[in-house]
């Protein structure tokens, strides 16, 4: 048994035993409220893992509460039905809001969600026929187990009901954050473009997190309605969301236990401040400010650092340079080239960045795209990988037309790029970087992740194995535990290569892979690219290092001002007059005395 599960069992046993230890009703009530806020904060934390802060989260709590309460008051439905109905209602509301707003990022998303909560608050306040407005909705029946004679009557009963709800929340959020779903969410936060190009749809995953967060908030709302039995528009107040956000950040955002620690601390702290009477809220604000300023990463982070200073993980056995498992072939028919670009034109204003470009990448071929700065090489890459819309023309992957597909879908087919600038997930370990990029290979669905099915566990193990293989292949096996941003520049490029290989592509696009590498590193890189071809991949690369291009590539395509001016073997290109004039030069400038 691991230390972690021992702590888990001890914590669970303590939570179960608490009411039996003579804790009085006042503290039981506070614990119930802490649990309630934990469920809310945990949902907010899940979505925040992707960098999206929902500051209207209390709206979904309130919607769940009112939906559940109104069904109970007006239709006399059993709380056994109204509570899940409230959760579902909030989930649907969250889905609808997410559909509209999850294209927004950062501050925009934050402000729009605040606005949403405010609109709902005003509707609930003014729609007095339905909600009784500011008077509040009284007479919500207490919770019962199917019939009124099984009503929950004591605080202790509600404590256990909340314990079940909080336990379910803990399980769900822990499973999600600790799986490929959590990795996908963090990837969106750390480097959205790289996430998309590894086959992760930012929109889809943030929407999933939002819906789950809102389902949880709605369930918490339903619980609250039947526990307090009185609802008012105050539930939608901004102050509530602020409380949740404080719990998440002060507890430790992105961690599983952070929201729980935050909820406990910030439910009990204001109670302790009661003795300060008039100064209570002022002190609360000051504590809040101090926590944000001096512990921005949250209590769990600092506690864990204390624990971590005692233990350090074992170094992985290095077996650098070993082979890895490659992707399967392109499309169906082996007759068509791996990748075809047909008459693609992209204009920025009046300027044609790429002008009627056509090229074909054969299977197992290494093709270079060269040309002076501004020739349109990166634009061509962006069109091929879906980051830039083509004005006219088509892009085919095998025989499939992929023109206009979003990046994550193109990556999902097995056409993956490496970015020009160093592109990694900076705040994750090297291993997690590659593991995150293995995303598209996963087959088990959400249910499998949530139940921790055998297939899911086997798949996780397989992916870790694959990620280690890839790190070993690029020569970073001994660095798997290091944070990506702590690696050297050259190592980060190699990590980028491993990330690009992780989704098992059949075609790899490399944008200036040797930029910023020294001669030794470049030579190693050439060996790696040769090795990648040896695994059956086709490679299209943009590069300025002519030694690499001429020494490695089967064919070369030359661009100048967006136009293809030459195509041929390296030897042909080196003799091509126009290429020499536009790009390669004659060497005279150097030779002249």
């Amino acid at each position: 048994m691991t230390v972690r599960s021992a702590w888990g069992i001890a914590g669970g046993a303590l939570a179960l035993a608490l009411p039996l230890l003579g804790v009085d009703d006042y503290y039981l009530h506070l614990l119930v409220m802490a649990g309630l806020f934990y469920v809310l904060a945990a949902g907010m934390n899940l979505l925040l893992a992707s960098g999206q802060l929902n500051l209207g989260h209390t709206a979904f709590f309130g919607l769940g509460a009112y939906a559940s309460g109104l069904l109970g008051v007006h239709y006399g439905l059993s709380p056994l039905w109204t509570l899940p109905a409230g959760a579902l209602f909030s989930g649907i509301a969250g889905w609808l809001l997410g559909l509209v707003t999850l294209r927004l990022r950062g501050a925009y998303f934050v402000l729009v969600t605040i606005g949403f909560a405010e609109v709902i608050r005003l509707v609930v306040t003014n729609w007095t026929d339905l909600t009784q407005g500011p008077m509040g909705l009284a007479g919500v029946p207490p919770f019962n187990l199917g019939a009124e004679r099984f009503a929950l009557t004591s605080k202790r009963h509600y404590y256990y009901l909340m314990l079940a709800l909080a336990g379910a929340t803990l399980w769900i959020t822990a499973r999600l954050l600790d799986s490929r779903v959590g990795r996908a969410l963090r990837a969106v936060k750390e480097n959205e473009a790289l996430a998309e190009s590894s086959g992760i749809s930012a929109y889809r995953y943030t929407l999933l997190a939002m819906v789950i967060a809102c389902l949880l908030a709605g369930a918490a709302g339903g619980f609250y309605a039947h526990y307090i039995t009185f609802l008012s528009p105050e539930l939608f107040g901004f102050q509530n969301t602020v409380t949740m956000a404080v719990m998440v950040v002060a507890g430790g955002q992105g961690t599983v236990l952070g929201p729980a620690v935050g909820a406990l601390v910030f439910t009990f702290a204001p109670e302790l401040l009661r003795m300060a009477a008039f100064y209570r809220m002022l002190l609360y604000g000051v504590i809040l400010l101090l926590v944000v300023m001096f512990m921005p990463r949250g209590l769990v982070f600092y506690l864990r650092r204390l624990a971590a200073s005692r233990a350090s993980g074992p170094a992985a056995a290095a077996r650098d340079g070993a082979p890895f498992e490659a992707g399967t072939g392109v499309g169906e028919s082996a007759a068509s080239p791996a990748l075809t670009v047909e008459h693609v034109t992209v204009r920025f204003g009046g300027l044609a960045a790429v002008d009627d470009l056509s090229l074909a990448l054969g299977r197992g071929e290494i093709l270079a795209l060269i040309g002076p700065n501004g020739a349109g090489k990166s634009t061509a890459f962006n069109v091929i990988t879906g980051f830039q819309a083509a004005g006219t023309g088509r892009v085919r992957f095998g025989s499939d037309d992929i023109t206009g597909d979003p990046p994550y879908r193109i990556a999902g087919r097995g056409l993956v790029r490496m970015f020009q600038r160093t592109s990694i997930f900076p705040d994750s370990s090297a291993l997690d970087n590659v593991l995150t990029a293995c995303h598209r290979l996963a087959r088990t669905g959400l249910a499998g992740v949530l139940c921790m099915s055998r297939a899911n566990r086997a798949e996780e193990r397989g992916q870790v194995e694959r990620a280690r293989d890839l790190l070993a292949f690029v020569g970073l096996g001994h660095k798997e535990g290091e944070l990506a941003r702590m690696l050297s520049c050259g190592e980060q490029r190699l990590l980028g290569l491993a990330i690009a290989l992780a989704p098992a592509p059949s075609v790899l696009l490399l944008d200036e892979p040797a930029a910023g590498l020294n001669a030794v590193e470049t030579a190693r890189l050439m060996g790696l690219i040769e090795g990648i071809r040896g695994h059956g991949l086709s490679v299209l690369l943009v590069e300025h290092d002519m030694k690499l291009v001429m020494g490695l590539c089967d064919r070369v395509v030359v661009l100048n001002y967006g136009v293809k001016i030459a195509e041929g073997t390296p030897a042909e290109i080196q003799r091509h007059q126009e290429v020499i004039r536009a790009y390669l030069g004659t060497g005279d400038a150097v030779a002249r005395p």
Binding site: A107, V110, L111, V112, G115, A245, L288, L289
Partner: protein
């Protein structure tokens, strides 16, 4: 009928001028410092309370008191930037955001302790008899508030476009590192930007506080509305904040007149949700989405 419509529009424009001042401050602070200032409403409230204290309690001349009130809010802004926000630079966006949330709790509760929560009026020296412009009747204080708001907006615009400091602010807005390389003291720009944004919020609070009521929670709704305004106009967009503010003022005034005063405060948010469906980057948001 038409007269009534014109009357609503005029009232809305005057209200919108105050909103625009709030919005400009918020949008400058966000654009230049990448801080969503949740204490903006409290700075607005402080402007009103400083005026109330200086003028109604201490008997200082109304106009002098207004100037002093705005200067006082600017000073509060400068202190906040220097002691708190400067230490949080480089943190993810939610950290300074939560710090300003904490600040708003602190300032609002300090105001409750200092001035008690009951609403107060400022007995300004203007005549209560409405001035008549054709079919429209407006009390003098509103004319004054509208005129000062316009003056401040134009002044802020000229300041940002024409002065050396304004140019340094624009440079920092576009690219902080590049501005630093060309010799702009970015710390000073941040300090000034926050103080300037605070002063505009304080001025808005003093003006609208003299027209309406003064109470510690008056900033809550004002802050939410200024958020709506800056989203409408595009975060960090100066012109957008002005247009957004005027638009919201008029829409609210018309909404209260013709629809329902209960839903008046929801209009701004309904507007932004509709707007986002149509133009996710805001009315003028040429900069695209901002992280």
């Amino acid at each position: 009928m038409l007269a009534e419509l014109v009357q609503h529009v005029v009232n809305g424009l005057i209200l919108g001028g105050g909103y625009a001042l709030m919005g400009i401050g918020l949008t400058l602070i966000f654009g230049i410092m990448r801080v969503v200032n949740f204490a903006h409403g409290e700075l607005y409230m402080l402007g009103a309370f400083f005026l109330y204290t200086l003028f109604s309690l201490w008997g200082i001349n109304f106009f002098a008191a207004s100037l002093l009130a705005v200067a006082g809010v600017a000073l509060v802004g400068a202190v906040v930037e220097r002691l708190i926000l400067r230490r949080l630079r480089g943190q993810p966006i939610e950290i300074p955001m939560l710090a300003t949330v904490a600040l708003s709790v602190i300032i609002q509760n300090a105001a409750i302790l200092a001035w008690d929560p009951s609403p107060k009026t400022i007995r300004h020296p203007f005549s209560p008899v409405p001035l008549t412009f054709g079919p429209v009747h407006v009390v003098a204080i509103r004319v004054f508030a509208g005129a000062v708001a316009v003056g401040l907006i134009v002044g802020a615009h000229l300041f940002i476009q024409k002065t050396r400091l304004g140019r340094a602010m624009r440079a920092t807005f576009q690219d902080t590192d590049m501005a630093r390389l060309t010799g702009v003291d970015v710390d000073r720009i941040y300090l000034f930007t926050f103080a300037f944004g605070a002063a505009l919020a304080g001025a808005s609070g003093a003006l609208l506080g003299a027209v309406f009521w003064v109470y510690p929670a008056m900033g809550d709704l004002a802050a939410l509305k200024s958020f709506a305004i800056v989203i409408m106009g595009g975060l960090g967009n100066f012109l957008g904040a002005i247009v957004g503010g005027l638009l919201l003022g008029v829409a609210e005034s018309l909404g209260a007149g013709y629809i329902s005063s209960g839903y008046k405060d929801a209009i701004g948010f309904v507007l932004i949700i509709v707007l986002l469906l149509w133009r996710p980057q805001g009315l003028f948001g040429g900069k695209g989405l901002v992280r």
